[in-house]
Structures are given as C-alpha cells and as structure tokens.
C-alpha cells in the first residue's frame, strides 16, 4: 500500500508555543480522509505546514513517498499537492476563465509565456472549458468573481484546485458559510471529485465529515488524539469528550 501523503514527527512552534507536536499522519492512496478538531487544535497550522507556507521545526512531509519538506509552495503544487482556501481568497477582479486559466497555464508550463496572448493555446483553453463545465461555472465564465453568488465562488475555489490536477487535494472547510440553498451543489461537487485524487478534508461540520470521509483523525492540541474509521471515531469516548467538552451535542 502506497501512502499518498505522510507526515513523520512533524513539529512547529512559535516562540515557546508548540502548535504542532510530533504529528504523524498517514493518508492512503485514494482515501477520503478527514482531519477534525476543536477550535485552536492547530488545523490551520497543519495546512500551512503541508502546503509549505510554514517551515516545520521538526519532522518530514512525504508526498507519494518523496520528501517535499523543503520545497516551496508552488513546487508542491506542481508535484501534485493542491489546496482550497477556507475564507474567500479568490481574485475579485478576475473571471472564472482567468482564475482557472492561471492554474491550467502553470500546470502545463505555459505560465511564464509572455508573448502569446491568453486564449491562444488550445490545450489550455480545452482544460479551462472542461473545468468550467464540471463545476457548473460555464454560465458565469466571463463574470468577475466578486459578482458571483457565494456558492458559485466556493465551486470556483474547488475548480481552481482541481485545475492543477492534484494527486492529493486539501479541502479546507469547503462548505463554510454557504447558504443552505446552495449547499447541495458544493456537497455534490465534493462527492463527485475523481476517485484517483486523494482528499484530506479539514472540516468543522460533522454531518459533512461523516457523510464523506472513510477515515478520520481527531486533532487536539497539535497532535492526533484518535484515528480510525468513522464509526470507530463516533464511538470513541475521548473524541466524544473533546466535542462534548466544547459544548456540541452528540
């Protein structure tokens, strides 16, 4: 069994504060793995470590067996590790065609092309069109992102990440803040992600986690407290205590 994504003894501290401690995660190929945990458990730090925004103080990160601990952010993307963002970090002035086009052009190695006008390469155009279609963005393809409905923006968020053709996708609270009426589209998009893409879902919403994940890790104080299949985690006393302690009802 090959692991899609693995961390070995990952540690990060800010000053004296240990935010991530000895974190060893193993995400298997094609898994639907969820990383959950109460506020302040260090989920955001884990994402920043995995994507290369932060450098760990200790430990290693392996993507399909290759050490990526010292790679820059964009190199990890080109190696096949993409992420979506939790709060809105899309480009307000760019249209879906342009936003997805950025990712496609970089993946095909055309991003540094300074002489051809955008839209003149058929391979890039075809992939943009394919992603627009898959994420139901064709009708708004030429509208500035800022004018799109929030649900459409969340779809665009996922579409941009998928446009880099990742092997491993980090989904950071994909449905956060989406109104009930548009929620279904997001869940459907998440559910229909290609099976050969390994997904690590970082999520608060327990309904989404238990309907989607086939494996769950519970992060508390920067370390994995419980890990297992969803029904195991659901029965686990320690996991319950964490969430009950936070005031959520079962």
């Amino acid at each position: 069994m090959t692991l899609a994504l693995e961390t070995k003894g990952l540690g990060k501290q800010f000053g004296g504060l240990k935010v991530t401690r000895d974190l060893s995660l193993q995400v298997t190929q094609g898994a639907r793995h969820a990383l959950i945990g109460p506020n302040g458990a260090g989920k955001t730090t884990v994402i920043n470590l995995l994507t290369g925004v932060l450098k760990p103080n200790a430990g290693r990160i392996l993507l399909e067996g290759n050490d990526i601990t010292n790679l820059t952010v964009h190199r990890r993307v080109l190696r096949g590790l993409s992420r979506t963002f939790q709060i809105n970090q899309l480009y307000p002035d760019l249209t879906p065609i342009e936003t997805i086009g950025l990712a496609v052009a970089e993946r095909l190695g055309r991003g540094g092309d300074w002489w051809r006008v955008m839209g003149t390469r058929d391979d890039v155009n075809a992939e943009i069109a394919e992603n627009l279609e898959r994420f139901h963005l064709t009708d708004v393809r030429n509208e500035p992102t800022v004018t799109l409905a929030y649900g459409k923006q969340r779809l665009l968020e996922i579409a941009v990440a998928i446009a880099s053709k990742p092997r491993v996708l980090l989904l950071d609270e994909p449905a956060a803040g989406v109104p009930e009426s548009e929620r279904h589209d997001i869940l459907a998009a998440v559910a229909s992600l290609p099976r050969d893409v390994t997904v690590l879902l970082i999520e608060h919403d327990m309904d989404l986690v238990f309907s989607f994940a086939d494996r769950i890790s519970v992060l508390v104080n920067g370390a994995v407290l419980v890990e297992g299949a969803p029904d195991e985690v659901a029965r686990d006393a320690r996991a319950k205590a964490v969430y009950l302690g936070e005031g959520a009802d079962g």
Binding site: T72, F85, V117
Partner: protein
C-alpha cells in the same frame, strides 16, 4: 462552436483593440504635425511616458513600490552617452537597445534584493541602489563627467537616414515610434499568461503560489523587463538631448515619476502616458507661478491626490471620457482604473 474555442475567444477578447485606443494614438501622431514649434516639450513628454510605462509594469501590475526607478533610467542614459562619445555604437537604434540591455542586466542583478522582504525593505533597497549609482557616477567623474555631465555627445542619423535636427522633429518622431513599439510589446505581455500571473501576484501573492505560480521568478522577470524599459527611456533622453548628467539618478526623478503614474492611474498602461501629459502641463503651470518653488506645488498635488483618494479622483477625471465612451461603446468599454493597491 466548441466550449474550448468559446473560452479562447472570450480570453482573447481582453486583448482586442478598443476604438478609443486607436483614437488615442491617432491624436498623439496628429500632435506631431499640428504643433511643429513644440517638438522639444513633446519629446520630453514621450520620454516621460515611456519611463512611466516602465514603472507601471512593476507598480501597477506587480505591486512593487520603488523609490529609485531612476537608477535604470540613469544607467540607460549613461550607457547611450558613453557609447556615442567613444564611438562604440554610433547607430542610435542599436545603441538604444544595448543601453536597455545594460539596464536590464543591472535590473536582473538587483531584483534578487528587491523581491526579498516586505514593502519597507523594497523602499530602502530601491532608493539605496539609485543613490549608490549616483554616488558611483560622481566618484568616477573621469568617466561620467561628474556634475558637469557627459560632454561631446553627437548622434549619427537614425537608421542612417534621419539626421537629428535643431527643431527636434526627428527626435520627436524617433521617440514616439520607440514608445509605440514598446507599448505594443507591453500590451501583449500584460495580456499573456505571464501578465495574468502578475496580476494574481499583486493581488495576493500567497494565493498565487498556492495555484502554482512561481512568485519570485515572475517578479524577477517583470523587474528586469521594467529596468529594460527604463533604460531605453534614459537612452532616449541622452540621444534626443545629447546630455547626460548626475541628475538622471536623482530621487526627485523617481518621485516625480510616481506622481506621473498616480495622476494617470496605475495598472492599465495608458496611465503613464496620460499622466506624463498632465504632469508636464502642471509643471509648466507651477513654474510660471513660482519658478523656484514649484516643488512645493508638486508636493501639494501628491498630498491632495492621496487625501482625496486615487480611485475616487480617477472616477472624477475619467468621468467625461467614460461618459462619451459609454454613449458609443456600452458600459463595459470604459477606461478602468485598478482600485486598491497591494499593501
């Protein structure tokens, strides 16, 4: 029509020429025939416009605030001057390109310092490099002519056919053609994938990296390109005025340039061109009131522009042209000014 070609058509549409752009360039060319007594000031405006276009590439498109863009202008100016004085390259066009390339090399080398760190570091480094070059050219005054400037610059005819004349007619059309060609190139570049990734970096560098954009490499690229443009502007200055002195590196030149771009608006290429015209007219106006203290008024203009708000000011200034364009071309055709700089 397939989805793919539809995407291509829409993506390319941004790069299509708008009729107002064609009008703009026709008017500019017409000025060359309408005001034959004003070639010198018009050449000056064209040079300034090219220099501002160069700053727009890094400030308006990549969000790099520079306090020392005159560094590359100066490099270009001295390169062109030295090439002419020593008779190395007498052909103006070739010398122009070489001078631009020299500036580009310096731009490339210094870009590694500039792209590191935050806005504050960039301010210090860009200002420091310009001051350093100014001090160097003062120190090596045996080569540069020091405060007296480079003496004895004589230009061969452009392309061997057009002699520089005393009225500045050749100089003006030469500068205008150079500006137009470089504008065309810049226009292509900002509509390319490279240009798109610059906009993404300016807006949110972290996000751009997460999409797979090599942020540093792109910034180095555009900084080098802008240095090339500034070098050409400097070389044009030397070739059309047959002059190169220490003040090509001065802080005032860099600061005035920012004002030019701010007047015209950043991030849409025409800002520098429009700004150059307005700036020179303002400068004429203020020097007529108080010849020695016109800098006070230039400073006041800067302060007022910022306090009123650049975006709001441009909505006011562009209200009339946009209103006219709307009458003919519809809502989407208006001249856009990017709002909100990277902070």
């Amino acid at each position: 029509m397939s989805a793919s070609s539809d995407v291509g058509r829409i993506a390319r549409a941004h790069a299509n020429w708008h009729w107002s752009e064609i009008v703009f360039w026709c008017l500019t060319l017409a000025c060359g025939f309408l005001f034959p007594s004003r070639y010198l000031i018009m050449t000056d405006i064209v040079r300034l416009a090219l220099f501002a276009l160069s700053l727009d590439l890094i400030l308006g498109y990549a969000g790099i605030v520079s306090l020392g863009h005159a560094a590359f202008f100066g490099i270009g100016a001295y390169s062109a001057g030295l090439l002419a004085v020593h008779g190395v390259i007498t052909q103006p066009v070739l010398a122009l390109i070489v001078a631009g390339l020299v500036a580009a090399v310096i731009g490339f080398l210094t870009s590694f310092l500039v792209i590191r760190g935050v806005d504050l570091t960039r301010l210090m480094v860009t200002l420091g490099i310009a001051l350093l070059l100014e001090a160097l050219s003062e120190r090596f005054s045996n080569i540069t002519g020091g405060t007296d400037g480079l003496q004895g610059i004589e230009m061969a005819p452009v392309l061997g056919a057009f002699q520089f004349d005393i009225f500045g007619r050749t100089g003006f059309f030469y500068a205008l053609i150079v500006l137009f060609v470089l504008f065309l190139i810049a226009r292509r570049i900002v509509h390319s994938p490279f240009g798109l990734s610059l906009r993404a970096i300016k807006n949110n560098p972290l996000r751009a990296a997460a999409i797979g954009v090599p942020v540093n490499r792109r910034l180095i690229g555009v900084y080098t390109l802008a240095a090339f443009y500034a070098g050409i502007a400097g070389a044009l200055f030397t070739q059309t005025t047959q002059l190169a002195s220490l003040d090509v590196f001065s802080f005032e030149r860099s600061a005035d340039l920012m004002l030019v771009l701010v007047i015209g608006g950043t991030g849409y290429l025409y800002g520098g061109l429009i700004g150059a015209v307005v700036f020179r007219m303002l400068q004429e106006f203020f020097s007529n009131i108080t010849p020695e203290y016109w800098q006070f008024w230039i400073g006041l203009v800067l302060v007022v522009i910022v306090l009123v708000g650049r975006a709001r000011l441009h909505r006011w200034v562009l209200f009339v042209p946009n209103w006219i364009i709307r009458q003919f071309g519809g809502q989407k055709a208006t001249v856009a000014v990017s709002e909100g700089e990277a902070s």
